[in-house]
């Protein structure tokens, strides 16, 4: 049944997050970006929202609520409306934990998930992106070779979000023994950050999302027990894992675009030129209308992908559409946002130039979040 209606509970969560974004993320965003550091205490603060634990099974100490990509789409949009860099940091534990919950065996869930139901902040991370100008998430150079009851991982990863502090890395690799390529060849392995052969590289310096810690990573013949192959014999549903990340990026990009629009409207009404508010010029007004049209369209595409995931349907197509569409539109909207502010859009007194950098950065890192 086609329905655009969030449940009462979802409305509640959305309002909580909207407030949290407005009061915690937005005020701290600029300083965090300039300092290239997360605000002190931010991770603990966001941990208290219980975003991760709530949707983890009661069996591992979680809230036992159903995994809801739909709810998470609302959550990520609101967080990114505050700030996309801080949103990604806050969402990092979920990215890892939900992947374990979706694809892990009961044993793996029991072993790995309890930490994410505790009162203390904990995070793992997903290492998928590789250093190539033609990076494609389905064509990985990081390989996993079976060796007895172990797997040996070798390769390089980039932009591993929170990799500087994550205790566990979920490394996406190509299974050397896979007959075909594409999704079927993808496997995921839980690698302790301390494992021999793992080198955490230096902090990535990015165009945008500067507050977000991300590192490069080298895997040199890293041996992991077969038990750490996510999903065991069965392996993972790589289509779902990728769809979850893409839809998540889409939700973040939607929140970012909405932030631009909602900042631009009062600015354009307040700013005067040639005898009237610039919002009274059709060129500006229609531009704002365009932003409004597109943020709606962006959200519905994300929701559709989320709904498919919630129904355990293959969402490869829907999630790809959600990401490619939101990426293109968020870029345009943040770009137009700078233009609406003119010279003031180019200086760092206003957040718009930061959102412009965030949009471009976020939209090419399509496998760093999950919902």
């Amino acid at each position: 049944m086609i329905s655009f209606g969030a449940s009462e509970e979802q409305e509640l969560i959305r309002n909580t997050l909207r407030e949290f974004a407005a009061q915690v993320l937005r005020p701290a965003a600029r300083a965090a970006d300039e300092a290239s550091e997360l605000p002190a205490g931010f991770l603990d603060q966001s941990w208290e929202l219980g975003l991760t634990a709530t949707q983890l099974p009661a069996a591992v100490g979680g809230g036992g609520e159903a995994r809801s990509p739909g709810t998470n789409a609302l959550v990520l949009e609101e967080l990114a409306h505050g700030d996309a860099a801080l949103a990604l940091a806050a969402a990092a534990p979920s990215a890892f934990a939900f992947a374990i919950a979706d694809h892990g065996t009961t044993e793996q869930q029991g072993r790995l998930l309890p930490r994410y139901c505790g009162s203390k902040f904990a995070t793992g991370t997903i290492a998928w992106v590789e250093p190539s100008p033609v990076f494609d998430p389905l064509a990985l150079t990081t390989v996993a070779e079976a060796k007895g009851d172990k797997f040996v991982l070798s390769g390089k990863k980039r932009f591993v979000v929170m990799g500087d502090r994550a205790d566990e890395l979920l490394v996406i690799a190509r299974n050397a023994s896979a007959a075909t390529g594409g999704f079927a060849a993808l496997d995921a392995f839980v690698v302790p950050r301390g494992a021999p052969g793992v080198t955490i590289g230096e902090r990535e310096k990015l165009l945008g999302l500067r507050a977000l810690p991300a590192v490069s990573l080298t895997l040199d013949k890293v041996e992991v027990p077969a038990a750490n192959r996510l999903g065991g014999e069965r392996g993972i549903d790589a289509r779902r894992l990728l769809a979850c990340s893409r839809a998540a990026s889409g939700a973040l990009l939607t929140g970012l675009a909405r932030a631009v629009l909602e900042f631009a409207i009062p600015y354009a009404k307040d700013r005067h030129a040639f005898g009237e508010a610039i919002a009274q010029k059709q060129a500006i007004a229609f531009n704002l209308a365009e932003m409004r049209i597109e943020t709606d369209a962006m959200r519905w595409l994300v929701w559709k992908a989320a709904s498919f995931l919630e129904h355990d349907r293959d969402a490869t197509r829907e999630a790809y559409q959600a990401l490619s569409y939101t990426a293109e539109r968020a870029m345009k909207i943040s770009d137009d946002g700078v233009q609406v502010l003119g010279g003031h859009g180019f200086i760092r007194e206003h957040p718009v130039e930061m959102w412009y950098r965030h949009a471009r950065t976020l939209s090419v890192l399509d496998t760093v979040a999950a919902l």
Binding site: F4, G5, S7, V134, G182, L288, S307, H311, E318, Y320
Partner: protein
């Protein structure tokens, strides 16, 4: 709860509509090339199609609601052809919607069964109602309205039994003076000037009317309110806006049905020629054709979802004036880009009249023009989000 999946009743209905539309599509080219003809109210195939609601169980709580399904069905029908139907529904004219929105109970009962066109636009005025020149003068002696003026772009204007016509009681009063009248074709002085020759939807019946001292009984004023309100809009104008609130998402859906047809045809052709259109890989795992095609598919999806949102809102009794304009603006632009892009991908074959895609390219172009152009929709959207009145944003 947020849900974008179809119940199996939803799916069965849409499948049924497609099969019916496919049957109608066989006649699409003929009525495009012979624009003076009208498609019959029933095609020979009608016998095989009892009608969707004849074959469907009653909707349950797990099924999509009537307005949402209405949009999907509308798109499913134009997917076959904009004008040709296996069985043309009666009383489906825009004028009927206007009657429903602003007629009295008695008027609805009396004229509802007729097929009513909606006559608004005039040679001199596009989307600006304050420029309406068609006048209605009350002849106290005979208790009749005397209507004079010209109307163009009247959809289903030739086949309709009558029309809901915008006329002004007092030009000096601007919008406020505008009222809607029901005028039957039988009224003296009602002249159907000609059928318009168009870029697309040629099989469709778009007429130009002339009213020459056309006389209708006094009770033919919709809603019956004859006084001109001081300041602000007249009931007539507001009522038409009400109508638009229902028709904007529908017109977008009409267009998106045809752009979907273009996408389906293009996919078929490209896949037959060996182009891999599978999703999953990023840009570096794709051919140029797949990349371009998938962008068009995403655009189609995005536009259709704004239509469903507008419908879902009114289905749930929520205000949808903003969302109706969003869906119309988005749909109107999307169908242009999609049909243009599909032909670009098909190359020479795309511009040959041996296939229907060139027709869909022509037919969809009306979407961003009628029922308020994309510019008008953006004005409405901008005024709403900026909280501006007509004076602040012109």
């Amino acid at each position: 709860m947020i849900d974008f999946t179809f119940s199996d009743r939803d799916q069965k209905i849409l499948d049924y509509v497609r099969s019916e539309s496919l049957a109608a599509r066989k006649y699409a080219r003929h009525y495009d090339e012979n624009e003076h003809e009208f498609a019959p109210d029933e095609l020979p195939e009608a016998a095989n199609f009892p009608g969707v609601f004849a074959v469907m169980r009653k909707p349950g709580p797990e099924d999509s609601g009537p307005m949402v399904m209405g949009m999907l069905i509308a798109a499913g029908q134009t997917w076959g052809d904009y004008s040709v139907r296996v069985r043309r529904g009666r009383g489906a004219g825009l004028g009927n919607a206007a009657l429903g929105a602003s007629g009295t109970a008695e008027q609805k009962a009396k004229w509802g069964p007729l097929l009513l066109a909606m006559a608004i636009t005039e040679p001199g005025c596009g989307s600006d109602p304050s420029l309406v020149q068609t006048s209605a003068r009350l002849d106290e002696a005979t208790n009749e309205w005397v209507v004079n003026g010209e109307k163009i772009f009247v959809t289903t204007g030739c086949r309709a039994d009558g029309a809901v016509v915008w006329a002004t009681l007092d030009k000096s009063a601007g919008r406020a003076g505008i009222k809607s009248f029901f005028i039957p074709k039988t009224a003296p002085g009602f002249i159907v000037a000609h059928k318009e020759k168009k870029l697309g939807i040629r099989a469709d019946d778009t007429a130009a009317y002339v009213f020459k001292d056309c006389r209708i009984p006094r009770d033919h004023l919709l809603g019956g309110k004859e006084e001109i309100p001081r300041g602000g809009d007249s009931g007539g104008f507001r009522d038409v806006m009400k109508t638009f609130n229902m028709t904007r998402p529908a017109t977008a859906a009409f267009g998106l049905g045809m752009s979907q047809a273009a996408l389906d045809f293009t996919r078929e052709q490209l896949e037959a020629a060996g182009v891999d259109l599978a999703y999953g890989a990023g840009v570096h795992g794709k051919s140029a054709a797949a990349d371009r095609f998938q962008r068009l598919e995403a655009l189609q999806e995005a536009a259709m979802l704004t239509v469903l949102n507008a419908a879902w809102l009114s289905q749930n009794g929520k205000p949808n004036n903003l969302e109706a304009s969003i869906s119309k603006a988005k749909g109107g632009g999307a169908v242009r880009e999609i049909t243009q892009g599909c032909i670009d991908l098909l190359g020479p074959l795309g511009v040959s009249r041996e296939h229907l895609i060139e027709k869909w390219f022509r037919d969809v172009r009306i979407t961003d023009i009628y029922e308020g152009t994309g510019q008008i929709q953006r004005l409405i959207i901008a005024r709403t989000i900026l909280d501006y009145g007509r004076g602040e944003l012109k």
